[in-house]
Symmetry: C2
Subunit: 205 residues, 2 copies
């Protein structure tokens, strides 16, 4: 009997092994994408046998989906927290710093997402044009309000959001290139200063 097919409470072994598998799968999927990854790789990375993996998850796709679902929750949350009542420049800068910090602390999650999008978002396409679009449109309206009241400069809100995603995630997704070009020095300190400069100049009316 597989642990997913009943509704008994999760044992300690189950909790531990499912976590181990998720970590291993994140490592592999974020590097090679769904199709480029194999169960044997993940099993080896997790220190478990392949049938043992499939005792905890019904399929390769199920592991991948669980990772992506967890990701989408945590990934889009910080944008939701942008407060329409707060100071516009501070709110946006806080979001920028938060996203940059996510790239620094969770580069694998960022790359997992990038891989999924590069491959045409076969698993999360609906969320993108559904809840994500909804949320972005909502925040774009908030930003448009800030513009209308003259609190920040007149910039396209959607592209402003894209530029925040792009600039911050770049340090995770293109980590290898950034490190190669910078020759080993840590990029994030200078990145934060640079991004602060960019968005301060851009948003100041």
């Amino acid at each position: 009997m597989t642990p997913m097919s009943n509704s008994r409470p999760e044992t300690k072994i189950q909790a531990r092994n499912r976590a181990v598998i998720r970590t291993a799968a994140l490592q592999v999927f974020s590097t090679y994408g769904f199709r480029g990854s194999t169960l044997d790789q993940i099993a080896s990375e997790a220190g478990l046998s392949k049938p043992n993996l499939l005792y905890y998850f019904p399929s390769k796709e199920a592991i991948y989906r669980e990772l992506l679902e967890d990701l989408l929750e945590n990934w889009l949350d910080p944008l939701k927290e942008m407060d329409p009542g707060g100071d516009p420049v501070s709110e946006i800068m806080r979001y920028v710093r938060h996203k940059l910090e996510m790239s620094q602390k969770f580069p694998r999650e960022s790359r997992l997402f990038a891989n999924e999008i590069l491959q045409g978002a076969p698993q999360i396409g609906q969320e993108l044009s559904g809840s994500l679009k909804e949320m972005v449109d909502g925040k774009a309206a908030v930003i448009q309000g800030w513009i209308a009241s003259g609190k920040i400069a007149d910039v396209d809100p959607h592209h402003l959001i894209f530029s925040i995603w792009s600039l911050t995630q770049h340090y995770a997704d293109f980590e290898v290139q950034v490190n190669a070009v910078l020759g080993g020095q840590d990029p994030f300190e200078a990145a934060e200063a640079y991004l602060t400069q960019v968005f301060t100049k851009l948003l100041t009316p």
Copy 2:
């Protein structure tokens, strides 16, 4: 006798079929990455049989390498063309527009590169820390010169270059997400206006 193993001039059939294969392989590799792509996929996309593919290219890796090598040439060229003697803001803006145009016209090439970097640059790692770093360092020195003479604002040159790459390539690499959020309208017109605004404000002293 395979056409790569001698030095006779290329026949018309060879030229045509090698081009067909490159196009098909670009489509597949740029979507699924090297490991996620199969020769059968590429052969099917090219309308050729799998042994026929391997008549024109010695291996899957050889096709991939040829694509990447062609890419690196065309991809990094425009940065080289940035003229130290020209007007700084114009030169940088011209580069930004050029890169954005590349994202619009050659999104598959951009995604091929992105996939290679995401996977840790197993094929082009040396070029990144070799010739690419060299060239970027050179251009960063040029930009630093412009800053020193007060022609543009004081920004970190390396991160300025990263931000140009990141912002422009985002519209190719994350095309699916951008289209989903924008709901079908063409992103590039607004993107060009937005990026002009960003870099004008950033660079004006």
